[in-house]
Amino acid sequence: MSQQLSINGVTHTVDVDEDTPLLWVLRDVVGLTGTKFGCGIALCGACTVHIDGVPRRACITSVKSLGNASIRTIEALETTPVGRSLQKAWLDLEVVQCGYCQSGQLMSAAALLAGNAAPSDADIDTVMSGNVCRCGTYGRIRAAIKQAANEIQHTTPEGAQ
């Protein structure tokens, strides 16, 4: 089945079975390997992407369910003020240990800050509970999200967009 997908603002024509998970299309067909395979059952969050702005687990999202949706992956994170602030905070605080889960962590964090410009610890814990980190970097992730939120509020007049 040939289908057009809008990924990071670029239209890609892919020829895959309609039940193919988006994760395989991103990684194996389009070549965007930043989105990771973790558990394969939507539990760990490593494969998180944004579909029309909503965080979604790519491992259990079939291409037939996407229609004309706008898909954004970790490769496009730096195109928004939120994404850039998160990247900077991640580097400043050296959040990453092994790094495998971090693209999913960042995509969930970006969705969080897009909807909540000043999240509390509880807000962060609630949203980020969907992303597992076996290195246990949760404390640094939380601190980095707060730093990014603070930076966005002080440097970006339009806020977290």
């Binding site: 939507a42 259990i60 969907g130």
Partner: protein
């Protein structure tokens, strides 16, 4: 084929049966209660039978006592820990739809065979919590417009008999046991219950 081979083949056949292939738990149709002469008792009997569905894990998991759903036949806490949010569809930043799509989705491996889904996937409102309640308490709750979404009994009957998300309980995806019987028989029981006065067992009984 010798006896050992036949036994091995049988084991393979049974082992390969998914939960969805397992015989459905029976749900008796309203006619099964025709012999109950007392109208109120018969009405209550209809609801008690229908409650086999209402009290089934496929229903209880999203009618939790708290604002977080549960999972599995043992009603264990939902992994990951999620919140109902203001509209019972998760929080804006971690909505139910992050994982639960418009239909059941096969997984890429592991012991979870599928992730459940439905167009209207959501948690029941707090007023419709069922976990921890008796059948009699659920019966009273379902009749109470203040707790049932301001529905009339006719609307309750239609909702339970026809709603697509309710119907998911009988089509829960690979690896999950369906609710007893069928939505059709369940609807017939609720209709019979309403027609006979929607009686509930006294909570003290």
């Amino acid at each position: 084929m010798n006896r050992a081979h036949a036994l091995a083949l049988l084991c393979i056949v049974f082992a390969s049966m998914s939960l969805a292939d397992a015989p459905l738990e029976p749900l008796r149709a309203p006619q099964a209660f025709d012999s109950i002469r007392n109208r109120a008792a018969r009405s209550n009997a209809y609801f008690t039978e229908a409650a086999k569905v209402l009290q089934h894990p496929r229903c209880l998991n999203c009618h939790p006592a708290t604002r977080t759903p549960t999972q599995g036949d043992d009603l264990h806490p939902h992994m990951p820990l999620v919140q109902a949010g203001p509209e019972n569809r998760g929080t804006k930043e971690l909505p139910c739809s992050s994982c639960h799509g418009p239909e059941n989705a096969p997984t890429l491996g592991g012991r979870v065979k599928s992730v459940p889904g439905n167009e209207h996937w959501s948690l029941a409102p707090a007023s419709m919590a069922w976990q921890g309640l008796t059948t009699a308490q659920i019966c009273e709750q379902i009749k109470d417009p203040k707790r049932n979404g301001n529905r009339t009994l006719a609307q309750i009957e239609k909702h339970l008999a026809e709603d697509h998300l309710v119907g998911w309980a009988w089509h829960p995806g690979e690896g999950r046991a369906p609710a007893p019987g069928t939505q059709e028989v369940f609807g017939q029981l609720i209709a019979a219950w309403v027609k006979t006065g929607a009686h509930c067992q006294q909570a003290s009984l």
